[in-house]
């Protein structure tokens, strides 16, 4: 399966394609070619094809991996995709969008359907949406409903969903070996810390340095709450991120120029490198599988971004700035 990964030259060629048509021509010569055959597609359809392909790959690995690893993959990736879909339905319901429109944006989840998306799409209000999730892993979402309805915001529910995902990963990683656990924890911690810092910076800017309500940070990892609160109150970004040291300073440096997208790209690069360096054992060991899946995930995200960029005529230099080229 590793051979299916696109190399950096192919990704570069795709980013440098003249237009979306040429992009599709180049892509059709890669392992994605089968799915693209005879298809007149637009960017959103391509994104669905890429998601389907990713799910197929996940499925193959889940089937062929030892139980503890396959359970972890389900909790880390499948639940992640499921939460993306739940957030999309939630946003659509919040603004009163027609169900068909919301359905078009959902990631195809078959055969992993732990929630009934069709039933969720039929709900009319947030209350009904939460009620429909009562018997699932997302039952505690109802605790965030009141604040969402009162303040007409969605972040409490979205934060809760992210938190439930982290909770599940933490339970799941207990079944992994201690060495594998260290790798996942490192990835998880860096990701959560960076997201918490971004959330703190965002809250401070959007709500005039007011303290956020309890629960805004669902889970605190390496960066303590006091630091996050200090960032919200003072907005002294440079001082705070400098004090955090490596790798936070390197990842968060673009935030000083208000470039959050580049922060995400640096975070993606950091996680990619951590996993690349840790996959020293055999191809069937957990680090190699985790690295492979992360690479596939990065790849489909990159391809969707390049495709959109090509359709819109975005210069290759700008596209290449925000995608991760494998090393």
């Amino acid at each position: 399966m590793r051979a299916e990964l696109l190399d950096s030259n192919t990704l570069r060629n795709l980013a440098e394609a003249r237009d979306f048509k040429e992009f599709l021509e180049i892509l059709s010569k890669t392992p994605y070619g089968e799915e693209l055959a005879n298809a007149e597609i637009d960017v959103l359809e391509l994104e669905q094809i890429l998601n389907k392909k990713f799910l197929e790959r996940l499925n193959k690995i889940i089937i062929s991996s030892p139980k503890e690893i396959s359970e972890f993959i389900k909790d880390y990736y499948i639940m992640g995709l499921e939460i993306k879909n739940l957030k999309r339905i939630l946003r659509g319901k919040f603004s009163g969008m027609p169900s068909e429109w919301i359905a078009r944006s959902l990631i195809p989840m078959r055969p992993y359907l732990s929630v009934n998306f069709e039933e969720l799409l039929e709900t009319k209000t947030l209350e009904e949406f939460v009620e429909a999730l009562k018997e699932t892993a997302y039952a505690t979402l109802s605790e965030s409903l009141r604040i969402c309805v009162e303040h007409e915001v969605l972040w409490p529910m979205e934060t809760r969903l992210n938190g439930l995902h982290v909770d599940r990963i933490e339970v799941s990683l207990m079944n992994l070996s201690p060495e594998d656990r260290v790798i996942v924890k490192r990835v998880l911690q860096t990701r959560m810390d960076i997201e918490n810092l971004l959330a703190a910076d965002k809250w401070g800017k959007e709500f005039g340095r007011q303290t956020p309500p309890r629960g805004y940070f669902y889970r605190i990892y390496g960066v303590p709450l006091e630091v996050l609160e200090s960032l919200i109150k003072t907005g002294d970004l440079e001082e705070i991120i400098k004090s955090l040291g490596t790798p936070y300073y390197q990842i968060l440096k673009p935030l000083l120029e208000d470039d959050v997208a580049l922060v995400r790209r640096y975070l993606q690069r950091y996680i990619y490198e951590v996993l690349r360096k840790s996959k020293t054992r055999s191809d069937f060991a957990f680090p190699a599988i985790f690295f492979l899946l992360t690479s596939f995930e990065n790849e489909i995200e990159n391809l969707a971004s390049i495709a959109w960029g090509k359709e819109q005529g975005v210069p290759p230099k700008k596209i290449l700035k925000y995608i991760l080229l494998p090393s």
């Binding site: 960017v43 994104e47 910076d201 959050v260 971004s305 959109w308 960029g309 975005v314 596209i319 995608i323």
Partner: protein
């Protein structure tokens, strides 16, 4: 066709024509004043428009860059999904306003969408920049519409002034001159006739 066709060369008609001419000349003066004011208004508006447009274009380039970045970082579906979480759109009231009798639409923002706490920071940056510039775009549209209507009215007024100055007033003057000439001619004929009659009477008396 002669402008004097159907003209009655009487003193009463001459007085009526003179009254009309003076009224038209006064109207023409007013129209010239209006034309000058509108021309001044248009010059100022064009200067302002040029400045504002280039500023807005600059900001729009920045916004486009932020939107492109958001799409590249989050992916098209995610951007669409997050954008859909914004409940309200802009609510705008359009009222008529007037400058020198020229009506133009004036726009007032009644309510704005609330984007705080709903978007990813990458998309929030693009959305807040867009919201900053949106009201400026409305003002610009209002100003452009005003300038367009002032220019339209200026054209109409100019045509009216030209028509009055070059066609209506000269034709009235021609009619007045024609009547005056006719009346003078009649006066002269009357004088000659009177003198002739006077001479005949004088000769009969001798």
């Amino acid at each position: 066709m002669s402008v004097v066709g159907g003209v009655r060369p009487t003193k009463g008609f001459l007085l009526e024509m003179k009254k009309r001419l003076s009224f038209i000349e006064r109207g023409c003066e007013f129209l010239k004043l209006k034309r000058d004011h509108l021309a001044k208004e248009l010059t100022v508006a064009l200067d302002v428009l040029r400045g504002r447009r280039s500023k807005i274009n600059e900001k729009l380039r920045e916004i486009y860059d932020a939107i492109v970045t958001a799409y590249l970082a989050l992916g098209p579906s995610e951007v669409r999904s997050q954008a859909n979480s914004i409940k309200k759109t802009y609510e705008i009231e359009i009222l008529p306003k007037s400058v020198m009798g020229v009506q133009y639409p004036s726009m007032k923002v009644v309510s704005k969408p609330k984007i705080e706490g709903k978007l990813d920071p990458v998309l929030f940056k693009a959305a807040s920049l867009m919201m900053e510039v949106f009201e400026e775009i409305l003002r610009l549209a209002e100003f452009e519409s005003r300038a367009e209507r002032v220019a339209d009215e200026l054209g109409k007024t100019n045509r009216k002034v030209n028509a009055l100055e070059n066609i209506v007033i000269p034709s009235y003057k021609q009619v007045i001159k024609f009547i005056q000439d006719k009346l003078d001619e009649e006066d002269l004929e009357e004088l000659v006739r009177t003198k002739l009659i006077g001479g005949v009477i004088a000769r009969r008396g001798e």
